[in-house]
């Protein structure tokens, strides 16, 4: 494998965890800002702003992580950057990380349905 391709391959392996990190940052940032500025009292399409925004961010993150999973299972993602056993490992790792991230994203998003935003 050429050294130049490593950043892309490595980022591909970590893609689903990076999605988790982005989701976490967004939902925490949105809630923090909403509470500091009183935005939690707003409504979007009839739903309270914060749960709506968290649910939307969670749905987007789940879709992205699922995309990583499907791509890895179909042999795409970072695997083509490697040969032999390494290729198998990259493919497995990417898919397994995506599975773990899917659960973690859902788990992190769920409190928005149960807990008041700024209580």
């Amino acid at each position: 494998m050429r050294t130049r391709r490593f950043p892309a391959a490595f980022a591909g392996m970590m893609a689903a965890f990076l999605v988790w990190a982005a989701h976490f940052t967004v939902v925490y940032g949105v809630n923090g800002l909403a509470c500091a500025r009183g935005l939690d009292r707003l409504a979007v399409l009839g739903f309270p702003f914060v749960p709506f925004a968290v649910a939307a961010a969670t749905a987007v993150a789940l879709l992205l992580a699922a995309g990583v999973l499907v791509r890895a299972l179909l042999g795409g993602g970072p695997a083509p950057h490697a040969q032999g056993d390494a290729r198998r490992f990259l493919r497995w790792f990417t898919a397994a990380a995506a599975g773990a991230a899917l659960i973690a994203i859902l788990w992190n998003g769920l409190p928005a349905l149960q807990v008041p935003a700024c209580g």
Partner: protein
């Protein structure tokens, strides 16, 4: 009797090897003698000194703990006054976390990683040695502050406002901020070394799927240092600036917020726990298969768990702040993540138990320590889940329950594995074994002592005993529990003393000789080696090469694999590709030198003088430190001074490459990741302060610099980047003078950029000490100015090399390093400008 090697088996290098080959190898890798020994850079020497120093600091910090336990043994005790007690618990916590735990895991990595990879050394041996010496001098100065009653006393997490200028006017807090702040540089240097070492100096064939699990753990740990440590470095810089210049980052009356410190500190502080734990877990994952004589069950899942822990650990920091009034849903996000992180820890625990269950366990001292680790760490993990539950945390926050929890996690999760590793890997140090009998005594004393000391603290915490009290009244029901804890602490210390006695006995020649591979392990660190590491570098085809190929160790020792000698008559190792480990080039490696030793000493002296407020005098060691670094690196970029070399197996590789394949390029990129993370933390600080104090932000555009300043600044950063691109093209055509002129012109543009940014703010009348807004805006300017100062040194160095004829189209690694930093600085300047000019207009 040993069977002869199979003569028909094809090996990369033909056997037998000529005798002079080994003599050359020994000569070039020989460590210096006499006083010059301290200039050695070999990883086995630096690693051992590093581990020894960390253990020394562990003992000192442990003695402070014993003094505290003696003070708390009975109520209303007056052995230590409250001021001394404050210094003791601060230095104990700080010493254990910053001067023992993180350094020792990096030190073990410096010692073990090249052996596990059969690399001749880590890729930047002088950087490792510099990191060690800076740590050694700085650590000694930090502990010495106790003698002068000048030790920090604000707790290991140094919360403002207690630690700011109003309530801590002396230099005690500065010892923490400057002393620890610069020791973190060592940690980052180590992380760079570990990342590049693991990704680029693996033996041929050791693709990522065959990377030893310990190296995975160290890779994740290094990644966490890269993204975690910048936050605390920035926090320490902000607090030190607040103390020195009264810029109110953390003063609520002026728009600052003490919670900013807590966010930055814990964004580092919680990953810090895993920075300590994951390497220990990696060690356990190496020892358990040897103990059980069985491959690690679920190896790939353990890799996933390590990486997953690395990510999830960055989503936990607010669980240290559950009682600070943060919105309930925000707390819940962190509560959820805090529970989730127990899943990857559980995967590892089950993998270890399954491996032990499937194999035949050999009962050694290391085995006892590993099992002790499992018991204690699991208990610590369970109480961790308990304090992740917000209402429970509210009850036990800042109580001895938390003291119990963190010691179960840290001593169980890191100290017990470290002692297991000490007994397990000691034979690689001097081919002798530590005493099994003393090892078991040590284990039982430590195990019983630990649980006796810390288990009662759960109860005293639940009974309401707060942390950090230097004494307590007799009628609260805490007396017996505290007395028992004190007895346990001394038992634990007795166990540590037994280990120290065992090591001393061994050093005096009382250790039993060990065979080459006493635990019949399957990994490469058990191939006999010398200062040059293994005689030859093997082609790897499995995770446990010594198990899967019983002849491999003897073939390596006979020189039958890659690079059996030193073909360019100097220190060198094979650089391979990061995923498939295909040989790419032969990296020349530096040998002993005084430069890095002096750089470490002068760096420590510079920061020490800053701490004791000898500001002008501190310039002298500062300049000497930079001069020492220049002296040390001057001879490193050698260019293509030898033809491509045959390393065996028909593989011929060059001795010099440029651009993204070069290991130095990788190191600078990793450094820029650190740098970029610190900058992102600064951007976060700006936005956080605006969130909590929008009233100190300008209310209309008239209070801001005119857009002309923005345009001028953007133009200067853009032109500076263009000048560097021009210089790069000129160098590619070997046109030295255009390159030099472009660099000099670009340097002028960089300086003009910073001056423009600063002047724009000064002309509005903005002052750093008046509000958090002014403080953070000028901090952004100062941060950019610091980068330009660094680039000034790097550019002058690059120009000097050009003047001496050491730079050209075919020898441009030095230039490329400067170029990477240059472009990053320009990009950072643009982002900072856009933020300080456009954001206030957007929200006004």
């Amino acid at each position: 009797m040993t069977a002869p090697l199979d003569a028909d088996r094809p090996l990369p290098s033909v056997l037998p090897r000529p005798p002079e080959e080994l003599r050359t190898l020994e000569r070039v890798w020989q460590a210096p003698k006499g006083l010059s020994y301290i200039t050695a850079v070999n990883n086995n020497i630096i690693g051992a000194m590093y581990i020894g120093t960390a253990l020394l600091f562990f003992v000192i910090a442990g003695l402070l703990a014993l003094a505290m336990r003696a003070q708390l043994a009975v109520p209303e005790n007056d052995l230590l006054d409250h001021g001394t007690y404050n210094q003791f618990f601060t230095v104990h916590g700080t010493g254990m976390m910053f001067l023992f735990a993180v350094p020792v895991v990096e030190a073990i990595g410096v010692y073990l990683i090249p052996a596990m990879l059969a690399a001749r050394d880590l890729p930047f041996p002088r950087l490792s040695a510099f990191a060690f010496w800076a740590y050694f001098f700085g650590g000694c100065a930090f502990f010495a502050s106790l003698i002068f009653d000048a030790a920090p006393n604000g707790g290991w997490f140094m919360y403002p406002p207690l630690t700011s200028f109003t309530f801590s006017p002396g230099i005690n807090s500065d010892f923490w901020l400057l002393g620890i702040g610069f020791i973190e540089i060592s940690a980052i240097a180590g992380a760079i070394e570990i990342v590049v070492g693991i990704l680029r100096t693996r033996p041929p064939g050791m693709s990522l799927d065959k990377l030893p699990i310990y190296c995975w753990a160290m890779l994740v740990m290094a990644g966490m240092i890269i993204f975690g440590f910048p936050a605390v470095i920035l926090a320490t810089a902000l607090l030190e600036i607040e103390r020195a210049f009264h810029w109110p980052f953390f003063i609520a009356d002026l728009g600052g917020d003490p919670l900013l410190w807590q966010h930055l500190f814990w964004f580092f502080g919680h990953p810090e726990v895993y920075i300590i734990f994951l390497p220990a877990a990696g060690m356990v994952s190496m020892m358990v298969p040897a103990i059980a004589q069985h491959r690690l069950v679920g190896h790939d899942w353990v890799v996933l768990a390590l990486v997953g822990t690395g990510f999830f650990s960055f989503g936990l920091w607010v669980h240290h702040m559950f009682t600070t009034g943060i919105p309930q849903l925000s707390l819940s996000f962190f509560s959820a993540a805090s529970m989730a992180v127990s899943v990857p820890a559980g995967i590892q625990v089950f993998a270890w138990i399954a491996t032990l269950g499937k194999g035949r366990v050999r009962w050694t001292a290391a085995t006892y320590f590993v099992l002790g680790f499992l018991f204690i760490f699991v208990l610590g993990g369970l109480t961790g889940v308990m304090v992740a539950v917000i209402p429970f945390d509210w009850q036990v926050h800042d109580s001895y329950f938390v003291v119990a929890h963190l010691h179960y996690v840290l001593i169980g999760g890191m100290v017990f594995p470290m002692f297991a590793g000490l007994y397990y890997w000691w034979p690689t140090l001097n081919s002798t074994l530590l005493s099994e009998r003393l090892g078991r005594w040590a284990f039982w004393l430590m195990f019983i002592g630990f649980n006796t000391a810390f288990f009662p603290m759960h109860v005293s915490g639940l009974l309401g005993m707060p942390r950090r009290v230097y004494t307590y009244p007799a009628d609260l029901g805490w007396d017996t529990l505290n007395l028992v804890s004190t007895v346990g602490a001394f038992l634990l210390a007795a166990g540590v003393l037994v280990v120290l006695v065992d090591m001393a006995r061994n050093a005096m020649g009382h250790g039993a000789p060990a065979s080459d591979n006493p635990w019949r392990a399957g990994t490469l660190e058990w191939v006999p080696n010398g200062n040059y590491a293994t005689r030859s570098i093997p082609r790897i085809t499995s995770l446990y090469p010594l198990w899967d190929d019983p002849d491999l160790s003897r073939e390596i020792q006979a020189g039958g694999h890659f690079l059996p000698g030193a073909p360019t008559n100097r220190r060198e190792t094979i650089v391979t590709s990061p995923i498939d480990a295909t040989p790419q080039y032969l990296m020349p490696m530096p040998g002993p030198h005084w430069g890095h030793v002096l750089a470490g000493f002068f760096t420590a002296a510079h920061f020490l003088m800053l701490t004791v407020q000898l500001y002008w005098l501190s310039i002298v060691p500062g300049v000497l430190a930079i001069a020492s670094v220049v002296w040390w690196v001057w001879g490193l970029d050698k260019g293509e001074d030898h033809p491509p070399q045959d390393i065996g197996g028909g593989v011929t590789v060059p001795v010099y490459v440029q651009g993204p394949r070069n290991h130095s390029w990788w190191a600078v990129v990793v450094l820029l990741l650190v740098d970029g993370t610190a900058f992102v933390c600064l951007l976060f600080s700006y936005l956080f302060l605006w969130t909590v104090s929008p009233d100190v932000w300008p209310r209309d555009a008239a209070a801001l610099p005119s857009p002309t300043w923005l345009a001028g600044g953007l133009a200067l950063w853009g032109l500076a980047a263009g000048a560097m691109a021009w210089a790069s093209r000129a160098l590619a055509r070997d046109r030295s003078w255009p390159m030099r002129l472009a660099l000099l012109g670009g340097l002028g543009l960089l300086i003009a950029g910073v001056v423009t940014d600063a002047t724009a703010q000064i002309l509005t009348g903005l002052k750093g000490a008046e509000s958090a807004y002014g403080a953070v805006v000028y901090m952004l300017v100062a941060y950019q100015g610091f980068h330009v100062a660094v680039l000034l040194v790097m550019t002058l160095y690059t120009l000097a090399r050009s003047a001496f004829g050491l730079l050209g189209a075919a020898r441009r690694v030095t230039f490329d390093n400067t170029m990477l930093m240059w472009h990053y600085t320009c990009a950072q300047g643009v982002v900072a400008l856009l933020l300080v000019h456009l954001f206030p207009r957007l929200v006004a």
